[in-house]
C-alpha cells in the first residue's frame, strides 16, 4: 500500500497554486477514502460483515419457518383437543402424500434432513445450494411437521440458512474459497435460530459440518449464529425451547445412576441408527412408484400410534419434552413414548419425508432419561435426581450416541439448561453413550446416510481422530551428520566419503546451523582450500530450524533449498535433536497404511 504524498507549500501562492493545492488535497482525500474502503471491503472483512447479514436473514427465515409449522399444525390437525380419529390418521397420511408429490415434482433436493446436503455443498459443490432447495425445504418440512410427522425443524432450518448464505455468497460474487465456507456459516445461523442456542449451533457446525477448528471461518460462524439468535429472540422471545426445572446433583455417587443412563442411551442410539440405516435401504429398494406413497404410509402409521394413546409422538414434541422434564408422566409411559418415538421417527425419515432428526433425538433422549431416572428412583430410592435432571442428561446422551457429536452434546445441555452444576453427569453419561454407540455402530448415522446417497463426504469423526504426523516421527538422530567444530574442508570431505553421505550440517557461531554438500566440498578441495575451515568458506546463511512437534508437512517447503534440515529443541536452539531429509519424510509417509475403499 502506498503512503499519501504531501508536498510542502511554495512561498509564492498563486491562484494556480491554490488550485493545485486543492487538487492535491482532493486526491489525498480520495486516496484515504480508497484506503479505508479497501480495508473495509477486503474480502475477509467483507465476509465477516456478510456473516452478520446471513445471520439476520437466516434468523428471519427460521422465524417464518416456525410460524409456518405452527400454522400448518393448527390448520391441519386443529388448534386443540377432540380431534376425530379419521382426521388423526388421514391428516398426516394425506399431507405425506402431498409432500411427496411436491418433493418429487418440484423440490427433489428437499428430501432428508439437510445436514448432509450442507456438507455436500461444502465439499462437493463449492458452497452451492439452490434457493429452490430452501423454498422446498421450508414448504415441505412445515407441512410434514405440522401434520404430525415425527420430525423436527432444526436440520431443515440449518439447510435453509445454508441455502440463503449460498445465495448471498453468489450474489456478492465471493471467491471460490469463501463460497465453500459460506454454507456452514449459514448452517450455523439456521441452527442457532432453530435451537435458540448459538453456542451449540457453532459447535455442531464445527464438529459435524466443517470438521476442524479453523480460525478463518470461526469468526463468521459465531457472528452469524449470534445474529440469527438475536433475530429469533426478537420475534419469539428469549425463552429456551424447554422450561428447565431446577437441576441438581446431590451426591457424587449419583453418577452411577447417570452412567446407567449413558449405557441405556448408547444402546438406544444404536437401535435408532440401525433402524434408520436398514429401513432406509429397504424403502429405497422398493419400486420407484411406491416412493410417492411412502410418506403417506408413514403418516398413517404415526396417526395410528397417536390414535392408540400416544399422540405425543406427533410432530417435534417439544411441549412433551417440557412435560417429561417436569415429571408429568410415569416412568413406564416415558419408556413407551421413547420406543414409539423411535419407531415413528424411523418411519417418517426413511420414507423420505423432509424434516430433521434433532428434535426427535431430543425427544427420545428426554423420555428415555426421565424414564431411566424414574425407574432407578423407584427401584433404588436413594438415587435422588429429579426427572428434569435425568431428562436433560438423556437429551445429551442421545445427541452424543445417535448424532455422534460429543462436544455439542455437552454444551447443548449446558446451554439449554443454563446450569453448569450438571456438567459431571452430562460428561459421564454422554461419554459412555458415545463409546458404546461407536463400538456397536462404527459408522456415524450421517456418514451412513451419505454413503446410501452415493456420496463420499469426509467423515467428521475420522477427521477429528485423524493422527497427524510430526517432524519427530520422521527425523533421524544427528550422529555423523554434523561436522565437528573447526573442521577443515578436507576433513569434511573425508567424513562425507567415509559415511557415504551427500551433505552434512555445519554448526554456526554463536548458534544456528547450515549445511554443505559433498559436491561443494569437492570443488573447494580442488581449488586448494582443503586446509581451510569449512565455516570460513560458507556463503549461505543459517537454515531455519524445525522443532520435533512441528507437523511433518511443514518440513516440505524447506527441501526445495536444503537437503538436510536440522531439528532443534525448543529449549535451546543449539541443542540438536535430529535431522530430517526428503527421503525421511517419504519413508514415513510410505509406512502409513493405505485406506482401502
Amino acid at each position: 500500500m502506498k503512503g499519501v504524498e504531501v508536498r510542502p507549500p511554495t512561498p509564492s501562492t498563486t491562484a494556480t497554486g491554490q488550485q493545485e493545492q486543492s487538487t492535491h488535497s482532493s486526491a489525498a482525500a480520495r486516496r484515504s477514502a480508497r484506503t479505508l474502503l479497501r480495508s473495509m471491503f477486503q474480502e475477509d472483512r467483507f465476509f465477516l460483515l456478510l456473516s452478520v447479514f446471513i445471520g439476520v436473514f437466516s434468523g428471519l427465515a427460521v422465524v417464518c419457518f416456525r410460524f409456518a409449522i405452527d400454522w400448518c399444525r393448527i390448520y391441519i390437525l386443529g388448534s386443540g383437543v377432540g380431534l376425530s380419529p379419521t382426521r388423526l390418521v388421514l391428516a398426516p397420511a394425506l399431507t405425506g402424500l402431498f409432500v411427496a408429490i411436491l418433493v418429487k415434482r418440484f423440490f427433489p433436493g428437499a428430501r432428508g434432513s439437510g445436514v448432509n446436503q450442507t456438507k455436500a455443498a461444502l465439499y462437493i459443490y463449492n458452497g452451492y445450494i439452490p434457493v429452490r432447495t430452501a423454498v422446498g425445504k421450508f414448504i415441505t418440512s412445515s407441512l410434514a411437521i405440522g401434520a404430525g410427522h415425527s420430525l423436527g425443524p432444526e436440520d431443515p432450518s440449518l439447510q435453509i440458512g445454508a441455502s440463503l448464505a449460498s445465495a448471498l455468497g453468489r450474489y456478492t460474487r465471493l471467491s471460490r474459497e469463501r463460497m465453500r465456507l459460506i454454507a456452514p456459516v449459514g448452517a450455523a445461523a439456521g441452527l442457532a435460530a432453530a435451537f435458540n442456542a448459538p453456542i451449540s449451533a457453532v459447535l455442531f457446525v464445527i464438529e459435524e459440518v466443517i470438521g476442524r477448528w479453523s480460525a478463518g471461518v470461526l469468526g463468521s460462524v459465531v457472528l452469524s449464529s449470534v445474529a440469527s439468535a438475536v433475530v429469533m429472540r426478537w420475534f419469539l422471545g428469549s425463552e429456551a425451547l424447554f422450561r428447565v426445572p431446577t437441576v441438581h446433583m446431590e451426591h457424587p455417587w449419583e453418577l452411577i445412576a447417570y452412567a446407567i443412563l449413558g449405557i441405556v442411551g448408547g444402546l438406544a442410539s444404536v437401535v435408532f441408527a440401525r433402524g434408520i440405516s436398514t429401513l432406509r435401504l429397504r424403502f429405497r429398494s422398493l419400486p420407484k412408484q411406491t416412493q410417492i406413497w411412502q410418506p403417506a404410509f408413514a403418516g398413517a402409521l404415526i396417526g395410528f400410534i397417536a390414535l392408540f394413546g400416544a399422540p405425543q409422538v406427533m410432530g417435534a414434541g417439544y411441549e412433551y419434552i417440557d412435560e417429561a422434564m417436569h415429571g408429568q408422566f410415569t416412568w413406564q409411559f416415558l419408556a413407551i413414548l421413547a420406543g414409539l418415538k423411535i419407531v415413528a421417527t424411523i418411519l417418517s425419515f426413511v420414507s423420505g419425508t423432509p424434516g430433521g432428526m434433532f428434535a426427535p433425538t431430543l425427544f427420545i433422549g428426554a423420555m428415555l432419561g426421565a424414564s431411566v431416572g424414574g425407574a432407578e428412583h423407584s427401584l433404588l430410592p436413594f438415587f435422588g435426581g429429579s426427572p428434569g435432571t435425568y431428562a436433560l442428561v438423556g437429551m445429551g446422551v442421545l445427541f452424543a450416541g445417535f448424532l455422534r457429536v460429543p462436544m455439542t452434546s455437552v454444551f447443548m445441555v449446558l446451554e439449554v439448561s443454563g446450569n453448569y452444576s450438571i456438567i459431571l453427569p452430562v460428561i459421564v453419561a454422554n461419554t459412555l453413550a458415545y463409546v458404546i454407540s461407536r463400538g456397536l455402530q462404527p459408522t456415524p448415522i450421517f456418514d451412513l446416510l451419505t454413503r446410501q446417497d452415493g456420496l463420499e463426504l469426509p467423515s467428521m469423526e475420522d477427521l477429528r481422530e485423524e493422527e497427524s504426523l510430526h517432524v519427530e516421527d520422521a527425523m533421524r538422530p544427528p550422529d555423523d551428520l554434523v561436522l565437528p567444530h573447526g573442521a577443515t574442508v578436507a576433513q569434511a570431505l573425508q567424513q562425507l566419503t567415509e559415511k557415504s553421505l551427500t551433505a552434512v550440517l555445519v554448526p554456526l557461531q554463536p548458534y544456528g546451523w547450515t549445511s554443505i554438500d559433498k559436491h561443494t566440498l569437492a570443488n573447494l578441495a580442488e581449488e586448494g582450500q582443503g586446509a581451510v575451515e569449512v565455516t570460513s568458506v560458507l556463503n549461505s546463511g543459517p537454515i531455519p530450524c524445525l522443532h520435533p512437534d512441528h507437523p511433518l508437512d511443514k518440513a516440505l517447503p524447506y527441501f526445495d533449498r536444503w537437503d538436510l534440515v536440522p531439528v532443534v529443541s525448543r529449549a535451546g536452539l543449539t541443542q540438536l535433536e535430529g535431522v530430517i531429509s526428503p527421503r525421511d519424510v517419504l519413508d514415513e509417509y510410505r509406512s502409513l497404511p493405505v485406506e482401502s475403499e
Binding site: R30, R31, A33, R34, L37, R38, M40, F41, F46, L49, L50, F53, V56, F57, L60, V63, C64, F67, D70, W71, I74, S79, G80, V81, L168, Y171, T172, F235, L236, E239, R243, P245, T246, E319, D322, H326, G327, Q328
Partner: protein, 382 residues
C-alpha cells in the same frame, strides 16, 4: 494511466461492496418489517387461542369436568406456555382428577416461580396433608396464610386458617389448633356466621370460655340465632354453668324443638340443677328429698352395674361401695337426715363415689346418674 486505473479501482470499491451492503441493509429492514407483521398476526392468534382454551377449561373446571378441563388447559399452555394462571388451573384440574403426583409437580414448579403465592401453598399443603406429611403440610398452610392472595380472594386467607384448624383437629393437635383459633379470632369481624364458626371450633378444641364468648358475640348481633344459642348452651354446660346452659338451651329448643341432642343436654342440665343438694337457696326439706333420691338412684346404679363388674371385690384402698351403701341406707330417711345433718354429706360422698366408680367400670351414665356425676365434678375439692 495509473491515475485512470486508480479511479476505476476507486469507483469499483465505491460502487460494488457498499452498494451490496446498502442493499442488504434495505433487505434486512424490509425483512424485519414483513416478519414483524407476520409475528404480530402469529402472536395475536396464539394469544386468542390460549384465551379461548383457557376459558373453555375454566368452564369445565367450574362444572367439575376435570378430564376435559385438564386437556383444555394443556392446549391453552401450548399457546402460552409460561402462563402462571394456566398452569395453576391445570394443576387444580389434575387434583380434581386425582392425579395428585402430576398436580404436585405443577404446584412445585409454580411454587418455585412464586413461593409467596397463597393458593399454590394451600394446594401444596393439601397434598402434603393427603400424603400425611404433617411438617410439610403445616409449613405450606402457614405460607398460604401469610402469603399473597389476590384482593378478591382475601377471604381465602381466613378460609385457609380454618382449614388448617380442621387439619390440626383431625390430627388431634388441639393445642396448636387453639393457638390458630386465637389468631383467627383476632382477624374475624362481628358477623354472626363467622363468630358462630369460631365458637364451634373453640368448642371442638375444648376452649369453652372462648367458645362462649364467640357465641355471645354472635348472639349480640343476632339474639335469636338458634345455633349460637345451642352453642352457648353447650359451652355453658361444659363450663358447669348449668342454669345459664339451661337458659340458652331452652331458648335454642324453642326455635328448633326437634333437636334431640339439645333436649337431652337440657334435660341433663335441669337434672343437675334439680339434684344438687348443695345449691344455694334449697330448703332443708327439699335438700333431704334430693339426698334420698340421689342415694336411691346411686343404689340402683350400683345394683345394675355390680353383676357385670368386680365392684364387690374392692382393693385395699377402696371402700366396699355396696356394703357401705347397704350400711347407710337405713339412715337415709327424712327423719334420719333431720336428726343427723352430717349424714347429708356422708350420703352424697357415697353417691358421688358410686357414680364415679360405676362411670369407670360400666361406662358413661345417663339421666339422673349423669347429673349426679356432673354434680360430683362440680363439688370436687370443695
Amino acid at each position: 494511466m495509473a491515475e485512470l486505473t486508480e479511479n476505476l479501482d476507486f469507483r469499483r470499491y465505491f460502487t460494488r461492496e457498499p452498494v451490496i451492503v446498502a442493499l442488504l441493509c434495505v433487505g434486512a429492514a424490509v425483512g424485519f418489517a414483513a416478519v414483524g407483521a407476520l409475528s404480530s398476526m402469529y402472536h395475536t392468534q396464539q394469544q386468542s387461542l390460549a384465551v379461548y382454551w383457557f376459558n373453555k377449561g375454566n368452564a369445565d373446571l367450574a362444572q367439575h369436568r376435570f378430564e376435559r378441563a385438564a386437556q383444555e388447559f394443556h392446549v391453552a399452555l401450548l399457546y402460552s406456555r409460561d402462563s402462571y394462571d394456566f398452569r395453576l388451573n391445570l394443576a387444580e384440574a389434575l387434583v380434581g382428577l386425582g392425579r395428585i403426583d402430576e398436580a404436585s409437580t405443577y404446584f412445585n414448579n409454580l411454587w418455585e416461580r412464586q413461593p409467596e403465592n397463597g393458593l399454590v401453598n394451600l394446594e401444596l399443603a393439601r397434598i402434603a396433608a393427603r400424603n400425611k406429611n404433617i411438617e410439610q403440610a403445616l409449613r405450606y398452610y402457614h405460607n398460604a396464610i401469610y402469603g399473597v392472595w389476590p384482593p378478591e380472594k382475601e377471604t381465602m386467607r381466613r378460609q385457609t386458617r380454618l382449614e388448617l384448624i380442621d387439619y390440626l383437629l383431625g390430627i388431634n393437635a388441639k393445642r396448636q389448633a387453639q393457638s390458630e383459633l386465637i389468631a383467627l379470632a383476632a382477624t374475624l369481624g362481628n358477623e354472626p356466621a363467622q363468630r358462630l364458626r369460631l365458637g364451634d371450633l373453640f368448642l371442638r378444641v375444648q376452649d369453652y370460655q372462648d367458645a362462649l364468648s364467640a357465641y355471645r358475640a354472635a348472639l349480640r348481633a343476632d339474639p335469636g340465632n338458634a345455633a349460637a344459642l345451642a352453642g352457648a348452651g353447650q359451652a355453658s354446660f361444659e363450663l358447669a354453668r348449668y342454669s345459664q346452659a339451661a337458659r340458652y338451651l331452652r331458648a335454642a329448643l324453642a326455635q328448633s324443638p326437634e333437636n334431640t341432642s339439645l333436649a337431652a343436654l337440657l334435660k341433663t342440665a335441669e337434672l343437675v340443677l334439680q339434684m344438687d343438694p348443695f345449691r344455694r337457696g334449697v330448703s332443708l326439706a327439699e335438700r333431704n328429698r334430693i339426698v334420698i333420691r340421689a342415694f336411691q338412684t346411686a343404689g340402683d346404679r350400683l345394683q345394675t352395674c355390680m353383676p357385670a363388674t368386680g365392684l364387690t371385690q374392692p382393693t385395699a384402698a377402696e371402700r366396699n361401695l355396696p356394703d357401705t351403701w347397704e350400711k347407710i341406707k337405713p339412715r337415709i330417711t327424712d327423719r334420719g337426715l333431720r336428726r343427723d345433718p352430717s349424714l347429708v354429706e356422708t350420703a352424697m360422698d357415697l353417691v358421688f363415689d358410686i357414680e364415679r366408680q360405676t362411670s369407670v367400670t360400666c361406662g358413661a351414665p345417663a339421666g339422673t346418674d349423669m347429673a349426679l356425676l356432673l354434680i360430683a365434678k362440680l363439688h370436687e375439692g370443695s
